[in-house]
């Protein structure tokens, strides 16, 4: 069913127009009354400007909702993310409705889920631009992003809506952003595959004699295990981690120096870093006290770092095809990996049989304006410009400056936690990122 498009949907009104808003709201009230209540209660926006350089649009907080030159061409381009012939699709972000209109013009489309990422932005748009044509289309389901747990596929997105997403929609915004960035990330990772394959071959002599991580599974069954990451808030957990009777620690490599300085010897250390120059400083400390600590390592880790480790070593592959030959040669357990050492460290803690996995220093952002825990090799003042404005919500519900890759690591960790229903997850500091599935429990380590 082709959508009629009123002049008001294209040209809009430079100032809020009650008639336009009422017309849009009338349809929304009939079809989605609960969502309309959310839209009507949204706080008004201060910085909303009408722009028209050939196509009328809005700038909100200095961000254009759509092209100001050719909205329809832009929507046609964005709609190509949804393969022709698709019967269902999802649109993330409403903007001015051009993208839903473009998809609804496809007669084969039976269902279109449109996800609101910022109620206030939608209200500002509906106050000026007629959306009644696509709102009235029976194929449309309009929902708020706060309730969206998984990515709908196929999907297309309004980029400005992602940029302007409200706090409650941070998670689904991140899932969309991760998916959009995936081809770019894979392209850059693929460029390193030859180098990694060489490294694995270089490490063959070690891999042939070292143990496999699977041999350790179940070793800590029934008790809590701490995963010590290297975020700034780790520093406040150190006194509890240092006391007698503290749970065993699975430490990521970047946390080793500050832990060692505090006299804390983790039972296990996890490293997956292939970059030699970046890795060497993390192991630059007096490791004699670590003779009893087991190093869990990826086969891509530089061999000289592995050989220098004073304690036992076990290799841990992942499901990635680069390890396929290793898995064929010998039975090997695979740990979950998705870009950050926190992922295999967490999976390892679960596979150890932990009843509870307790995150310390898993901040996924820059609490206190620092990048790492005090004393960590790479600790420095966070550069606000570097993250491009990326943020996550901390345990207090406030925006925590972050980086796009840290956000992605957080969401992938949450996805993994959701797949481990037999394990309880906790975190100990509200200043770090809120981790879905790992409630705040600061007192956990205090016994």
């Amino acid at each position: 069913m082709a959508c009629a498009r009123s002049a008001r949907s294209a040209s809009g009104s430079p100032a809020p127009d009650r008639t336009v808003l009422d017309g849009n709201a009338r349809i929304a009230r009939r079809r989605w009354p609960a969502l309309l209540e959310v839209l009507e209660s949204a706080r008004g926006l201060d910085d909303v400007r009408a722009i028209d350089r050939g196509a009328a649009t809005l700038s909100i907080g200095g961000v254009q909702l759509t092209s100001a030159r050719d909205r329809r061409a832009e929507a046609r381009l964005q709609a190509r993310l949804v393969r022709a012939g698709s019967r269902e699709a999802t649109v993330y972000g409403v903007a001015l409705g051009d993208l839903p209109r473009e998809l609804l013009a496809r007669p084969e489309l039976e269902r279109l889920r449109v996800v609101v990422l910022n109620a206030a932005v939608v209200r500002a748009a509906w106050s000026r631009f007629d959306a009644s044509d696509w709102l009235a289309d029976e194929r449309v389901e309009l929902v708020h992003g706060q309730g969206e747990r998984e990515l709908g596929r196929p999907f297309a997105a309004a980029p400005a809506a992602l940029r302007l997403a409200e706090d409650a929609c941070a998670r689904i915004r991140d899932l969309v952003a991760i998916e959009l960035a995936a081809p770019y990330v894979h392209r850059h990772l693929a460029a390193r595959e030859q180098e990694l394959a060489r490294r694995i071959e270089e490490n063959r002599p070690l891999l042939d004699v070292d143990g496999d991580v699977g041999e350790l599974f179940g070793r800590e069954a029934g008790g809590p295990v701490v995963v010590a990451a290297a975020g700034p808030t780790l520093v406040d957990a150190i006194p509890d981690l240092a006391r007698e009777g503290a749970p065993p620690i699975v430490a990521v490599d970047a946390s080793l120096v500050p832990l060692a300085r505090a006299g804390i010897v983790p039972r296990y250390v996890v490293t997956i870093e292939a970059n030699r120059e970046g890795l060497l400083p993390l192991f630059d400390f007096d490791a004699r006290a670590f003779e009893g600590s087991t190093l869990v390592y990826s086969p891509v880790v530089p061999g000289d770092v592995l050989r220098a480790w004073p304690g036992p070593r076990v290799a841990a592959v992942s499901a990635h095809e680069r390890f396929a030959a290793l898995r064929r040669g010998r039975e090997r357990a695979a740990l979950f990996q998705s870009g950050s050492v926190i992922h295999p460290a967490t999976d390892f803690a679960v596979r150890l049989g932990a009843s509870d996995v307790v995150f310390c220093g898993a901040d996924f952002g820059f609490p206190g304006g620092r990048t790492h825990v005090a004393g960590a090799v790479y600790d420095r003042a966070a550069d606000p410009a570097r993250g491009g404005g990326a943020w996550v919500l901390d345990g207090r519900g406030e925006r925590l400056p972050s980086l796009p890759n840290l956000r992605a690591y957080l969401r992938d960790l949450e996805g993994h936690i959701a797949g481990c229903p037999g394990t309880a997850f906790w975190r100990t500091d509200a200043r770090g990122a809120a981790i879905e599935g790992a409630p705040l429990r600061p007192e956990f380590l205090r016994g």
Binding site: G62, V63, A68, A181, Y184, G388
Partner: protein
Amino acid sequence: MRAAPPSRGRRCARSSCVADTPRSLALAAARAFRLGLEAQGNEALAAFVDALVSSGAVPEELGGAIGEVVEAQGRRDWLAVADGLEHDLAPRL
């Protein structure tokens, strides 16, 4: 090489042409930003700037448009960046 029309985001017929000229790089960056591909867009934008500088003196008449794109980039106003690249710069390159 079939050049992309200035008002469309259609890709060049040859995959290699995307990296060849400032114009094609500007259009590639605009396309990426309109699709929400921020990292890819900024990568193409950086390549566009390099190609523009490498091609010789930047025409004075582009100064204003380049300034607007830089301002929009500073605001992370990616669709304004895309508009500037596709509609103000690319047609004049």
